[in-house]
């Protein structure tokens, strides 16, 4: 029974990683850049939702919507201010800028909200469900997180496959210049990608803090790094890959904590990543890319 409980904890933690990883993977797939500030957008989302529900006493669902709107705007502003001027710069410059944005967001949050930890009230309204006469408890947060993760993945897949904008995104991801020649506005497409990624970050932030209810300005950084690992693990740029990578990572983390050692759990997670990359450099579901010379 402990095994099943741990499995559920793992899937639940993994689903949060998966939602965050979706943000990483979309931005990477389309803009070909690693947005290391993504983890901190999560934190901002969680704080906005916290403020909306604690100080303005808004219902949870409204607070999530407000958090999504603020994060979407934040994502577009970050992209426009920090990344757009570097569109033609080397990828290293963009990477350093992303790290800079990440620090900026953390310290801005430190200024605005202070570093005293806040207790986040869960947005999930129902109680945990006991199964097998209480032998197995499925927490309400895990149910909501897993369902949210699946819905988001399906919606994203449909969006990129079926809609005009989604098709534009895929075109930009394949070849920016050719896409521009075909009449696709690359800047707008990338902005939309950031908007979607940041809205997802807000949802991830709320779900993360509902399951682990302590909120500080650094709340997003560790899950952000783990989710980035998950995205690479599953094959960066691939939407189902991010989902698979996230969930596997969550399960590996919980199992190694439980059966091997808590201190080693992070080391094991990253060791698995190295192994996967050695065997399959593009990640589990990554597309094989042939470099044209």
């Amino acid at each position: 029974m402990t095994f099943i409980s741990n499995l559920i904890s793992g899937i639940s933690l993994g689903s949060v990683y998966a939602i965050i990883a979706l943000g990483y993977t979309m931005v990477y797939g389309i803009a070909k850049m690693l947005n290391f500030a993504h983890g901190d957008v999560i934190m901002v989302g969680a704080y906005i939702s916290f403020c909306a529900s604690t100080y303005l006493h808004l219902p949870p669902i409204v607070s999530i919507v407000i958090a999504m709107i603020v994060c979407t705007i934040l994502g577009i502003v970050i992209e426009g201010l920090a990344y757009r001027p570097l569109r033609r710069a080397s990828s290293l410059a963009v990477l350093i800028t992303a790290i800079g944005v990440s620090y900026f967001l953390q310290n801005a949050a430190l200024l605005i909200w202070g570093s005293t930890p806040m207790t986040f009230s869960s947005v999930v309204g129902f109680d945990s469900i006991p199964l097998f006469d209480g032998g197995l408890i499925v927490t309400s947060e895990s149910i909501v997180t897993v369902i949210a993760c699946i819905i988001i993945m399906i919606c994203l897949t449909l969006f990129t496959q079926k809609t005009r904008i989604g098709k534009g995104m895929r075109a930009v991801s394949e070849d920016k210049d050719a896409a521009e020649l075909m009449g696709i506005n690359v800047n707008v497409t990338i902005s939309i990608t950031f908007a979607i990624g940041s809205a997802l970050a807000a949802i991830a932030g709320v779900l993360l803090c509902s399951a682990y209810p302590i909120l500080t300005p650094t709340t997003g950084s560790m899950p952000g790094i783990k989710a980035f690992t998950a995205a690479v693990f599953g094959g960066i740029g691939s939407i189902p890959g991010a989902m698979l990578g996230g969930i596997l990572l969550g399960i590996i983390e919980i199992f190694s904590k439980s059966y091997i050692s808590t201190e080693l759990s992070d080391a094991i997670v990253f060791a698995v990543l190295i192994l996967v990359l050695l065997i399959k450099p593009t990640g589990l579901l990554g597309k094989k890319m042939t470099e044209k010379v």
Binding site: S9, L111, Y212, I254, S258
Partner: protein, 408 residues
């Protein structure tokens, strides 16, 4: 054109920041970095320097110590005899920042130190204090590494005694031992699970002594789980294992922030178990937005309760509540006692503000280690100090009942 767009975007960002701020007023703790003007600033005052986390995850401890020390200094100054001046610096519970804060205090002309509030920075700072010869009485840094001179489990003394260092709180080993004895005596649990932070000296120190004492007393420890500062997020796997091991009491020698996560996750898992904490648990009730019903029935060992009925406690609690609108915790009480202990020692040794910190240091060490030096305070009566710097006083068991601490 490009410039104006940039300016516009900048304004937009500012606007977003401002709107997201709306409704969050008075949210962040205030940081006090400079001289505290609420303390008396007479020219003939002896300068006392304190360092502790006024912001950050352990801010509750630092704030409590600072507030209570201010009250005590005001009281002492009102007596008209020896005058004190207090300056308190923020270290965010970080060793490096504590050393910076210490340098600032030295520049200010500090003569007596209150060490630091939390353990980890105090271990680093105590070496400096000892080398520079500043007498230090820490209210709450409880590791024996702060004092030095304690043999490890093989009987070797790895850190020599830093003879300027004294503690007002129990040492970590004493907390571990006392907790195990208390659980055994009161028969609080048959099967004990433990979760501790093994990246933290405070937590590890208490755990080790607890385990040794539990083995000696025949207490059954069924599961020991750890976490680190980086993994202080998900505790479900630890709780799953402890639950599977059949524990009926979980010992938490950790600070209140991770403890609050453990309480909430155990509640979501519908795991009904008793929790027993140590002084780091103190503060959980004041955590912002924390659902105190989760902490119902949590037990902890602490030398001070705000609902004690003696005159001293009643006066202190009333003053503290009036001034800071909060009920003081044991860190506040320890800090208050620190100022009074220093005051009594200064009085006994006729210490004046024009003496150098080295001379004050020697005189105070002599006074604190003298057998007739006894202090009656909020956290104990007849408190004495040994050559090792440890205090001798009795712990009391507390339980959280309807959101307040009640004596067990």
């Amino acid at each position: 054109m490009k410039k104006t767009t940039k300016l516009f975007s900048l304004l937009l960002t500012a606007a977003i920041a401002a709107t997201s701020l709306a409704g969050c007023g008075n949210n962040g703790e205030e940081t006090t970095n400079g001289t505290d003007d609420s303390a008396s600033t007479s020219t003939q005052a002896i300068k006392i320097g304190g360092i502790g986390p006024l912001t950050g995850g352990n801010a509750i401890y630092g704030q409590a110590v600072k507030n209570a020390a201010e009250i005590a200094v005001e009281e002492v100054n009102a007596l008209g005899g020896i005058q004190f001046e207090l300056q308190f610096q923020d270290d965010e519970s970080d060793a490096e920042k504590a050393i910076n804060a210490y340098n600032k205090l030295k520049d200010w002309g500090m003569q007596i130190s209150l060490g630091t509030v939390t353990t980890q920075p105090c271990i680093a700072l105590s070496t400096e204090l000892n080398a520079d010869r500043y007498f230090a009485l820490t209210p709450s840094a409880s590791s024996t590494d702060v004092l030095g001179g304690q043999p490890d489990k093989d009987g070797n003394v790895t850190i020599p005694r830093k003879d300027v260092m004294f503690q007002m709180c129990f040492t970590d080993p004493n907390q571990g031992t006392a907790s195990a004895m208390y659980i055994k005596e009161q028969n609080l649990g048959q099967k004990i699970g433990i979760i501790y932070n093994n990246s933290d000296a405070y937590s590890t120190g208490i755990y080790q002594k607890f385990q040794t004492e539990a083995d000696a007393l025949g207490l059954e420890v069924v599961s020991v789980k750890t976490f680190t500062d980086d993994s202080a997020n998900d505790f479900t796997s630890q709780l799953n294992d402890i639950k599977a091991a059949g524990a009926d009491l979980i010992f938490l020698p950790i600070y209140y922030t991770p403890a609050s996560l453990i309480l909430s996750q155990a509640d979501k898992m519908m795991y009904d178990v008793k929790f027993f904490g140590v002084d780091g648990m103190d503060g959980i009730l004041t955590l912002k937005n924390f659902d105190t019903s989760l902490a119902e029935g949590v037990m902890l060992l602490t030398p001070f309760t705000a609902d004690a009925q003696d005159e001293l406690t009643k006066n202190f609690v009333a003053k503290y509540q009036e001034k800071f609108n909060e009920t003081p915790n044991q860190f506040a009480a320890d800090a208050y006692d620190c100022i009074y202990a220093i005051y009594e020692a200064c009085k006994a040794k006729n210490i004046t503000a024009d003496m150098s910190h080295e001379d004050i240091c020697d005189a105070l060490i002599e006074q604190f280690t003298s057998p007739d030096f006894k202090i009656d305070g909020l956290t104990g009566t007849g408190m004495t100090w040994s050559e090792t710097g440890e205090v001798s006083k009795d712990p009391k068991g507390m339980v959280i009942n309807n959101g307040v601490y009640v004596g067990m």
